[in-house]
């Protein structure tokens, strides 16, 4: 149903591949990615790749769903664990089990089991994992050394975190930086034994619990009371990422952060350390989230053969060895992940992995809406000084009402 649209060029199959990257710049990692895609076209000269980047994780989910509704979703779809449920549970993707078991199959035991779980339903599997990352605490060793502050430790607490952050804050420099982005700050709640949803996918019981309120209050106070983190408008004014720019000593992020840090002029990769996320009470075990991504095939794809060829190519050891040089994630293949764990930082990532859980979006449909509401909630707390309990109460009622419709 291409209408009068421009058709495939020169009899080639045009394989549409979607991810949440946009236009690449001239960085090393963008170049590596281009090489990987070019390598596929070289291997299969009758297939032309059309990359379809939809930048912004929230926009991405909505646009792919819109494509599905008009029967024109991309052939190959990058599936993010945070929004896997809405795709997997609505019959939008092709079941890959027949293909993985087929002659041109994929050996699933090559992959970390928790990365497979995200898109597995019974015997069916809807995505082949590519990479994943736990959320960790990044710190800038140089700034710690200059302020004579000890590095974060294995089971450090909020009190120790705050103490360090206060000592690191000086003039234009902050101890910590974070934004209203929910995928980042939810870990503070988890490490205070709180949450935003319960096991039934309802918000009202947990999101308004004391531990959740306390966690949101704590991170608000980092900006308003202790002033160890820049406010959102301070960050907007700088127009540069505070941690990458050496203006903040700590930040919570995933492995992908390293792609930014590699090309950031004001920070040396050798100075970048990672640690587990601090816990609210001494002796508590830190928990984190595993943000994973994999490749899936759209239900309406006319080119499932080519799409599968691409997935096989992309998740192969050789390509992953090349691709993971970008630093985008921890490879979902055990062999490559171990191969790459050559420095302390990579080993630290692997050490943190067992404490990771899958994000809510892997199980709960409409989690992208929850994240939108979370951003609004955090905005109201940080920007308009709304009381955290009241803000969370509004958040919970909005979430429950919307998810109730589905």
């Amino acid at each position: 149903m291409a209408g009068c649209g421009p058709g495939p060029s020169g009899g080639k199959i045009v394989l549409r591949i979607a991810d949440w990257g946009g236009a690449g710049d001239d960085s090393v990692s963008a170049q590596i990615e281009r090489d990987v895609y070019a390598g596929f076209e070289k291997l299969y000269p009758n297939i032309e790749i059309q990359r379809e980047g939809i930048p912004g994780s929230q926009d991405y989910v909505k646009k792919i769903l819109l494509g599905f509704i008009s029967h024109s979703e991309p052939d190959v779809i990058r599936l993010d664990a945070s929004s896997a449920a809405v795709f997997v549970d609505n019959d939008i993707l092709l079941d890959l089990a027949p293909l993985t078991n087929g002659k041109q199959g994929i050996n699933l035991s090559d992959f970390f089991p928790n990365t497979l779980e995200v898109a597995q339903r019974g015997k069916s599997i809807y995505a082949i994992p590519v990479d994943f990352t736990p959320m960790v605490m990044y710190y800038n060793r140089r700034l710690f050394d200059e302020a004579h502050v000890p590095y974060p430790t294995e089971n450090w607490t909020w009190a120790e975190f705050l103490d360090r952050a206060q000592k690191l804050t000086k003039g234009d420099r902050f101890g910590y930086t974070f934004t209203n982005w929910m995928a980042g700050w939810i870990l503070w709640i988890w490490n205070n034994s709180g949450d935003v949803l319960d096991q039934h996918g309802k918000a009202s019981s947990t999101a308004t619990s004391q531990s959740t309120v306390d966690a949101v209050t704590f991170i608000r106070d980092l900006v308003n009371k202790y002033k160890v983190a820049p406010s959102l408008s301070q960050q907007a004014a700088e127009g540069a990422l505070p941690f990458a720019n050496g203006d903040a000593a700590m930040e919570m992020s995933g492995h992908w952060n390293l792609t930014t840090l590699t090309s950031a002029p004001k920070i040396h990769l050798d100075d970048v350390g990672v640690a587990p996320i601090p816990v609210s009470q001494p002796g508590q075990k830190p928990v984190t989230v595993l943000y994973e991504s994999g490749w899936a095939i759209g239900k309406h794809s006319q080119h499932t053969d080519a799409a599968w060829k691409f997935i096989r190519y992309f998740t192969s050891a050789a390509v992953q060895r090349q691709l993971q040089k970008t630093g985008i994630g921890v490879c979902a293949r055990k062999d490559i992940a171990n191969e790459r764990a050559v420095n302390d930082r990579e080993r630290e990532f692997l050490k943190i992995v067992p404490s990771g859980k899958n994000p809510w979006g892997a199980k709960v449909q409409g989690y992208d809406f929850v994240e939108d509401e979370g951003t609004k909630m955090m905005d109201s707390v940080l920007k308009s000084g709304k009381d955290p309990r009241a803000a969370l109460k509004d958040f919970a009622s909005n979430v429950d009402r919307e998810l109730g419709k589905q």
């Binding site: 909505k62 769903l65 819109l66 599905f68 509704i69 809405v86 609505n90 939008i92 959102l232 408008s233 301070q234 907007a236 004014a237 127009g239 409409g366 809406f369 951003t375 609004k376 905005d379 109201s380 920007k383 308009s384 909005n398 009402r401 919307e402 419709k405 589905q406």
Partner: protein, 289 residues
């Protein structure tokens, strides 16, 4: 009759198009507003007035209507007044006036996406253009215009006046040039000052123009979408969640087309009644003046 047949034949393509893309859709909007219809699963269930009840109870839609009303109530009168002022300025016989008119018109034909990108930058705290200028004069320059719920709507209104100046200005220019000269001569004989002439001659004579400007900008104001989508996504805290964006979000981000249909129909009624009221109020003045 041959004449009737010819008339309908000539209008046929446009009429069919109108039926398919404007008339029938309104009917269909009403139809789907009675269904709970999620496009992802593509199942629909008749729920009567359920959607109307839901959007009434949700509050989010009503708030978005209110936001749109604020946006329109601020941008339309200010925009019209500014355009009238500028039109008075550029209908004088001054050197280079045509060049100025062209310049003033320019923003209105520009890509809204590009304009939005530029203005996000202009509204940035400290180093954005507005704050930089404020800073030059030693005024407080830390306001995050788009990031603060008290400011974001004002920022969008400000931008809209900048964007839409051109067409409104040209309309008023035409109106001003059409005012018969003898009216001013008569007023002058009566000893009216320039100021009085403006209030008692120019403005009443411009009533039809004002009516047109106000009605078209009101319809446009209630439908504004692109700047909100590009610049604030309805935030912060829903303060710029205007009805056009709210409906978009319900239909194309949450795929609840039944609910969105109900919202669209309510919006349709609102636009219709506001237009009728405006027609009455400004239209009557025209008769009185």
């Amino acid at each position: 009759m041959k004449r009737n047949r010819a008339g309908w034949l000539f209008t046929l393509p446009a009429t069919i198009h109108l039926l398919i893309f404007a008339v029938l859709p309104v009917g269909y909007t009403i139809f789907l507003s009675f269904y709970n219809w999620n496009l992802i699963r593509d199942e629909r269930r008749f729920i009567g007035l359920g959607n109307y009840l839901r959007i009434w109870q949700d509050g989010g839609f009503l708030k978005s209507v209110l936001n749109s009303a604020i946006y329109t109530a601020a941008s339309v009168p200010i925009g019209a007044a500014v355009a009238l002022g500028v039109a008075l300025l550029v209908t004088q016989k001054v050197k280079g006036v045509t060049a100025f008119r062209t310049l003033y018109f320019l923003p209105s034909v520009c890509s809204q996406v590009a304009i939005a990108m530029i203005w996000i930058y202009i509204f940035l705290p400290k180093k954005g253009m507005i704050n930089a200028v404020l800073g030059m004069f030693g005024a407080p320059n830390g306001t995050d215009f788009l990031g603060t719920s008290g400011w974001a709507m004002a920022a969008l209104v400000f931008m809209s006046i900048w964007v839409a100046l051109g067409p409104r200005m040209v309309l008023y220019m035409a109106g001003i040039l059409n005012v018969p000269g003898y009216l001013y001569e008569a007023a002058e004989l009566d000893g009216a000052t320039k100021n009085q002439q403006f209030w008692h001659v120019t403005l009443p004579q411009l009533a039809p123009t004002t009516l047109f400007v106000v009605i078209t900008s009101t319809i446009g104001g209630f439908q504004v979408f692109t700047p909100v989508y590009m610049m604030t996504k309805g935030g912060p805290e829903g303060s710029t969640d205007v009805v056009g964006y709210h409906i978009y979000s319900a239909a194309w981000e949450r795929f609840q087309v039944g609910e969105a249909g109900a919202m669209s129909f309510v919006l349709f009624l609102i636009i219709l009644s506001v237009s009728i009221i405006q027609f009455r109020v400004i239209g009557n003045k025209q008769v009185d003046g």
